[in-house]
Symmetry: C2
Subunit: 231 residues, 2 copies
DNA sequence: TTCTTGTCACCTAGGTGTTAATAT
DNA sequence: ATATTAACACCTAGGTGACAAGAA
């Protein structure tokens, strides 16, 4: 079985509609997809990998709310379906760089896919995951048992297991569309600290009950709670 | 067979008497020990590791030349034997973090031991290599074939091979003793660029034949030449 | 006197969103 | 209009030798 790490943070993003930047050179995901694994055979070899499947066959489009809104308005924009999805290229997979490794090694610490990068460059030759901007994707996590038997191909079907966490769904974008997503990224990603206007360490102490809860996930995620995988 | 990378740079350091800093927290080696490997079974698993053996049973001592020397003197100090070596602690080994891996993976690119760190802390619990300051050491590189047979222990003797490059010998120190070593480190280690007083990129062009050859190894090492292993 | 330790400025290396310019 | 790109300032993370202070 598998537990998603930083579930509280993923939930907060998912509630707003998670967006992930794609660039030509490749961009990491934030939050990073990381899991805790249980129940492997400690002595057996496993390959760990991820892929990304379209959530639907729609292409999205950002529509700006042009009506006058109060300052600090919450819903200045939203997603609209803009047509049928672009034809999917044969989806790439990302093997965790430690693969293959023994079950004992995978289980003894959190497995982090922080080397995984997303790109919109169809001609990418860095092995990055290729996605279409303005499309929605569902990350999937696969565990493959390395079968020592000679005719292991025959058992391929029973030698892997797939885990899907719906809270990790996201829209691929080349620039953030929802400003609240931007703010949550800035508040929770250490590499974006330069864009913060207050010290996040002070937030839990200074937090007023009525304030915008942009930082709540970050505060909570310091003691991450995991969730069981869907299927 | 194994080829040492950056051999020209190692030679230049070795000619001056290589020194490596050891610290409580652990310090990387420079030059980094890296090799190119040939002749493995592409499909077989191998473990790669390093250890460090005392070159002799001597403790060293730096003696300062107190006689008046001309400016820019070349030999202001030297090493003297200072007594018998301190009792050796059971030597640690450093497994290359990618171990175990297939021969094909080890051979397809340079294997770099840049995660290896040296410490003088006898109580170190970070898994770093523990060395005595003011003692000389010979790095050794070991290739271990992971024998798939059940009684593999019986074949341990024939399942590993050791490679020794004498030009990688060094003296462990807590502070540099030979100023020319310091200068060569500053000239060739990118992380010490802050202490340079000229642009190393310009050196090959501006190099006057009569000038001090401090940068020559760095200039040459841009097209690294390898050397065969001793044994 | 000699050796060791801890702090520091200054780097490498690379992950952020911003912004202005460009493409569609 | 909307979407994409490239350069950029500002971070994280961590590897340098210098230096002053301390230890042996």
């Amino acid at each position: 079985s598998v537990q998603l790490e930083m579930k509280a943070l993923w939930d907060e993003f998912n509630q707003l509609g998670t967006e992930m930047i794609v660039t030509k050179a490749g961009r990491r995901m934030f939050p990073t997809f990381q899991v805790k694994i249980f129940g492997m055979d400690p002595m057996a070899d496993y390959m760990l990998l991820m892929d990304f499947v379209p959530v639907d066959d729609k292409r999205y489009r950002q529509v700006t709310n042009t009506q006058p809104v109060p300052r600090y308005a919450f819903h200045s924009s939203s997603w609209l379906v803009a047509g049928k999805a672009d034809p999917a290229t044969p989806g790439r997979v990302h093997y965790h760089p430690d693969s293959p490794a023994k079950g004992a090694q995978w289980m003894k610490q959190i497995v982090s896919f922080d080397k995984l990068k997303l790109t919109n460059n169809l001609l990418d030759d860095n092995g990055h995951i290729i996605l279409n901007s303005m499309h929605r994707y569902q990350p999937r996590f696969h565990v493959v048992y390395v079968d020592p038997r000679k005719d292991s191909e025959k058992y391929a079907e029973e030698n892997f297991k797939t885990f899907v966490f719906e809270e990790t769904r996201f829209t691929a974008v080349t620039a953030y569309q929802n400003h609240r997503i931007t703010q949550l990224k800035i508040a929770s990603n250490p590499f974006a600290k330069g864009f913060r206007d207050c010290d996040p360490e002070d937030w839990p102490r200074n937090h007023r009950p009525g304030a915008l809860p942009l930082m709540s996930a970050f505060a909570r995620s310091r003691n991450p709670v995991s969730s069981p995988a869907h299927q």
